[in-house]
């Protein structure tokens, strides 16, 4: 019940936002949104502290028959695989509300739409039924389209349309795979009942293809990534937080939660391809990031590169790699949200996102510069920040399964050091590029409130990764049992 309440509270929040009186000033609206966004986070934190020990098989479940003839049900529950992201979705929505300073028009609607997106995100990570999973998966789509299309920059319209068509194509193809899977095995759409895969190998292989395609478009894996850049660059900062922090993980989470355990034999022939795509993401993302003059585009490609480690870990099929992938989903969300917010802060102060026009920000913005450096170090996978732990695990796991891929992925870390250190050097340090940057204000209290929690979590999770790994490990073991790995 508490799961359902947490998922659907954002719907109430969205209605409440719309119902605010016309006369409400922006301050009232922001504080109301902040209060409403805090509720799902508090509920998720309560679940963490009360139930973190028993999140192996889905717990706190709720099962209601929906369409009995086809075995479709409203089945929700939380397990270790999705709980980290469930918690992160609530957290990043709250931070997105905090970081919404560049949204000035139609604030009520902005927050209402953001909350609808949150409903979809929380739902995906709690769904225990394929149809329900798909519904929540798609519920995120239109809000994101609207957030970018209404509140983005001047290039927002084509970016939003491209994003929508691309990812809708992916998810519709995936739906056909889901429906085939459910119909042929029963019909039954309960993820728990389908775990282990009951279909003959040939059918599994055929069904896995559309499902993997849809998930890899969402991630995005590199040849399918062309929707990503425009929409990231055109989004307002607070939409970026959710767009980069949570949405790609819908794809990778689907890989871990649906594709692997439900079609173990079907996914098997594709695993080398997924691992290869992961490595391509890492190498290609790094190289292209190197060439970006736009700070936001650089962070976007760095994000593509880091997502490659999740693909590699998931494809490894061993405990180390999958645990690393599950953890990397959370750490990637933390650092990419941090970087995108800071890029927003810098762009607001200096009026540019062009790396070549920036420089010497450390002098006037020591706090923002320090936080940006932390974010960049995290993105490089440096020890001291949690991304190191998860990337290391995925590389080790990947090395065991696909040695060459493991080596190349490790090489990718070197590449990321190159372009991220270049970025930090050009923006934070060095001579002050333009005289007008001298007097720029450092991060305001609101901006600090949006970024310091993310940076702190990255540090805390480096020293105590067990806070999340212990929660996810029992669930990962169930996945391993389903795919017959070790």
């Amino acid at each position: 019940m508490i799961t359902t309440i947490t998922i659907f509270f954002p719907l109430l929040a969205a209605i409440a936002m719309v119902a605010l009186p016309r006369t409400a000033d922006s301050r009232t609206i922001r504080y109301t949104a902040l209060g409403l966004a805090a509720v799902p986070l508090l509920l998720a934190l309560y679940i963490y502290f009360a139930h973190r020990g028993d999140l192996g098989a889905p717990s706190l479940t709720q099962n209601l028959n929906w369409i009995e003839a086809l075995g479709i049900g409203y089945r929700v529950g939380l397990d270790g695989l999705g709980f980290g992201m469930f918690l992160l979705s609530a957290l990043l929505t709250l931070l997105a509300v905090v970081a919404s300073w560049d949204v000035r028009e139609n604030l009520k609607q902005y927050f209402a739409i953001l909350f609808i997106a949150e409903l979809g995100m929380l739902g995906v990570f709690a769904a225990q039924d394929l149809i329900l999973f798909y519904i929540f998966f798609e519920i995120t789509l239109i809000p994101m389209y609207l957030l970018v299309g209404i509140w983005g920059d001047e290039h927002r319209r084509p970016a939003a349309v491209k994003f929508f068509i691309y990812t809708f194509l992916g998810s519709t193809v995936m739906l056909a795979g889901f429906l085939a899977l459910g119909i042929l095995s029963g019909p039954n759409f309960s993820i728990e009942a389908l775990t282990g895969g009951n279909l003959p190998r040939g059918a599994q292989v055929a069904i896995a293809a559309p499902i993997l395609f849809g998930l890899l478009v969402k991630t995005p894996a590199v040849p399918l990534h062309s929707w990503l850049l425009d929409v990231y660059v055109s989004s307002p900062t607070s939409t970026n937080v959710v767009l980069s922090g949570i949405l790609p993980k819908l794809g990778t989470y689907g890989l871990l939660k649906v594709a692997l355990p439900l079609l173990p034999q079907g996914v098997e022939p594709y695993l080398p391809i997924i691992a290869a795509l992961g490595v391509i993401n890492i190498i290609y993302g790094s190289f292209v990031a190197f060439m970006q003059p736009d700070l936001k585009a650089l962070v976007a490609y760095s994000s593509i590169a880091t997502l490659g480690f999740i693909l590699l870990g998931a494809a490894s099929g061993n405990a180390l790699g999958i645990n690393g992938a599950v953890l990397q989903q959370v750490t990637h969300g933390l650092y990419s949200a941090l970087l995108f917010i800071l890029v927003g802060v810098i762009a607001a102060r200096t009026g540019t996102r062009n790396i070549r026009e920036l420089g010497g920000l450390a002098a006037s913005m020591p706090w923002a510069g320090a936080l940006l450096t932390i974010g960049a170090l995290a993105a490089m996978g440096m020890p001291g920040l949690a991304v190191f732990v998860s990337e290391f695990m995925t590389i080790m796991g990947g090395y065991v399964a696909f040695p060459i891929a493991g080596v190349l992925a490790a090489l990718g870390i070197v590449l990321s050091v190159m372009y991220l250190s270049y970025m930090v050097r050009r923006t934070v340090f060095g001579p002050v590029e333009k005289p007008e940057y001298e007097g720029t204000q450092d991060a305001s209290p609101v901006e600090m409130a949006a970024t310091v929690p993310l940076a702190s979590l990255l540090i805390i999770l480096f020293f105590f990764p067990g806070l999340l790994i212990n929660v996810q490990r029992p669930a990962v073991e169930l996945v391993l049992a389903a795919i017959g790995g070790s």
């Binding site: 028959n65 929906w66 369409i67 009995e68 003839a69 086809l70 139609n106 609607q109 149809i131 798909y134 519904i135 798609e138 519920i139 789509l141 239109i142 389209y145 609207l146 299309g149 209404i150 927002r156 319209r157 939003a160 349309v161 929508f164 068509i165 809708f168 194509l169 519709t172 193809v173 739906l175 056909a176 429906l179 085939a180 119909i183 042929l184 019909p187």
Partner: protein, 478 residues
């Protein structure tokens, strides 16, 4: 012969007919100040029809009458509900418009007459009765399309609709006659006994002509070309009604003819249906992409949706039959709520896609409703259209033939193809700034009420899918 049971079975049609006559008479004799009375009576007629059909359905009424030529089962009653439902909304949406023209009694009578014909149609088990019922539903609809005397497109659309409609009727009749000649009976259960094994050329030709005639009525490609002109010319409420009620009834009777009349010829006609379905989807969507007029866009969209529903017909064999019948039932209900709503919004905003610009800022409520209808027509979950499409895919996977896999593939591709034009409207409403000097918002009040009700129904459709599919289980057709 004509017993109390027969009377009971025909009660929905009788009620609708009586009310249509009352509306006409009151319209003639009432003073011009009593437009509200006329509209109220017509709406009451639709509600009464709906209630009667619902009571019969709930009571499990089942029987065949008039020498097994007329059958009232759960399947037929279900479609009568859809017809009465859409008639009610068409009448409500027409109140203000038809009140202005001063011809509201005639207009509302025509809507009820089409409803009577459509409701008779879904119960026919006799091919000649079927033809009579189709004509009963079609002839008033020519008048409905041409009703708007202030617009030239209306007369043009009506004329085109009449000419192609008459041709379609004659093709259909020719097919019926050939089938009658080949089987020696016009009753579907007798036809089924003769249409076994390999079919004679005459019987095959009969089936082809029959299906072609139906394809005209369903605006399936390549027999769809009357649709955009007719829908563009027709008054909005008529276009909305005609795109739902007669179409639902025609799909229902096609299902009955194929399943009851020629089950053994299924391999032949499922292949034909698969071909028609794929062609219709592509034609509808590709032509809709080019439209700037929202009426024409929705007309091509209705062609595309006919294609999706025909996709379920391709799965009417083997293990897929049950699910395919469910798919038609669910899709029609889903389509009724979302498509009626989308058409009614035209009355509130305008038919040029530019007139939707900036609607989110000027009238957020209407914009959100239209956004829901458009997203539902694309098939975004959990809105109504998603369930229709999902069921067609279910049926295709269960039937598990090469043809149905092709249909499923085409459906997926076409869902994506349809995004640009449906979401073009959403883009105009949410992303663009209002055009200055645009048309003033037109008729509100009752149309707005209809739009809100239909938007809620579209959104919460998922909650009713379970009962609807259970209803299909006992539809009596299988």
């Amino acid at each position: 012969m004509f017993t109390a049971q027969t009377f009971l079975g025909l009660l929905p049609e009788i009620v609708a007919f009586v009310f249509s006559m009352i509306v006409l008479m009151v319209g003639v004799f009432a003073s011009s100040g009593s437009k509200g009375l006329v509209a109220g009576l017509a709406a009451l007629g639709a509600v009464a029809t709906f209630v009667v059909a619902a009571v019969l359905l709930a009571a499990g009424f089942d029987g065949s009458f008039l020498g097994n030529a007329y059958v009232v089962d759960a399947f037929a009653l279900y479609f009568k509900l859809i017809v009465a439902f859409s008639a009610l909304f068409a009448i409500l949406a027409a109140v203000r418009w038809s009140g202005r023209t001063g011809d509201s009694p005639e207009y509302l009578t025509l809507i009820l007459s089409v409803a009577v014909g459509a409701m008779l149609l879904v119960s026919m088990r006799d091919l000649f009765g079927l033809f009579v019922a189709i004509e009963l539903a079609t002839i008033p609809s020519y008048a409905l399309v041409a009703f708007d005397r202030t617009r030239r497109e209306s007369a043009e659309g009506g004329m085109k609709y009449l000419l192609t409609g008459v041709m379609a009727s004659s093709i259909l009749l020719y097919g019926i006659v050939l089938i009658y000649g080949a089987s020696g009976s016009a009753n579907l259960s007798d036809v089924a006994q003769t249409f076994t094994g390999s079919l004679s050329p005459v019987a095959l030709l009969g089936i082809v002509l029959l299906v072609s005639g139906f394809a005209f009525k369903l605006s399936a490609a390549p027999f769809h070309f009357w649709t955009p002109d007719a829908y563009q010319g027709a008054p909005t409420s008529a276009a909305a009604f005609l795109s739902v009620a007669p179409k639902a009834a025609t799909f229902a009777i096609l299902l009955r003819v194929l399943l009851e009349g020629m089950p053994d010829a299924a391999p032949t006609w499922t292949a034909v249906m698969a071909f028609l379905a794929v062609l219709t989807m592509f034609v509808g969507n590709l032509f809709a992409l080019r439209q700037r007029n929202v009426r024409r866009m929705l007309a091509y969209s209705s062609v595309a949706h006919s294609g999706y529903i025909l996709g379920a017909f391709a799965a009417l064999r083997g293990a897929g039959v049950d699910t395919a019948v469910q798919a038609v039932l669910i899709y029609m209900a889903a389509y009724a709520v979302m498509n009626l709503g989308a058409f009614f919004v035209i009355d509130l905003v305008g038919e040029d896609s530019k007139s939707f610009n900036g609607l989110f800022k000027s009238r957020p409520g209407v914009a959100v409703c239209m956004g829901l209808f458009m997203a539902a027509l694309v098939g975004i979950p959990p809105l109504s259209g998603f369930w229709g499409k999902a069921w067609v895919i279910f049926a295709g996977v269960e039937a598990a033939s090469a043809a149905t896999y092709i249909v499923v593939g085409a459906l997926v591709i076409n869902s994506v193809l349809s995004v640009p034009y449906y979401f073009g409207i959403i883009r105009n409403m949410f992303f663009e700034d209002p055009v200055t000097g645009a048309e003033k918002p037109k008729g509100t009040g009752i149309v707005l009420f209809c739009v809100y009700v239909l938007a809620i129904a579209t959104t919460l459709f998922g909650l009713f899918v379970g009962p609807l599919s259970a209803l299909a289980e006992r539809s009596g057709l299988l």
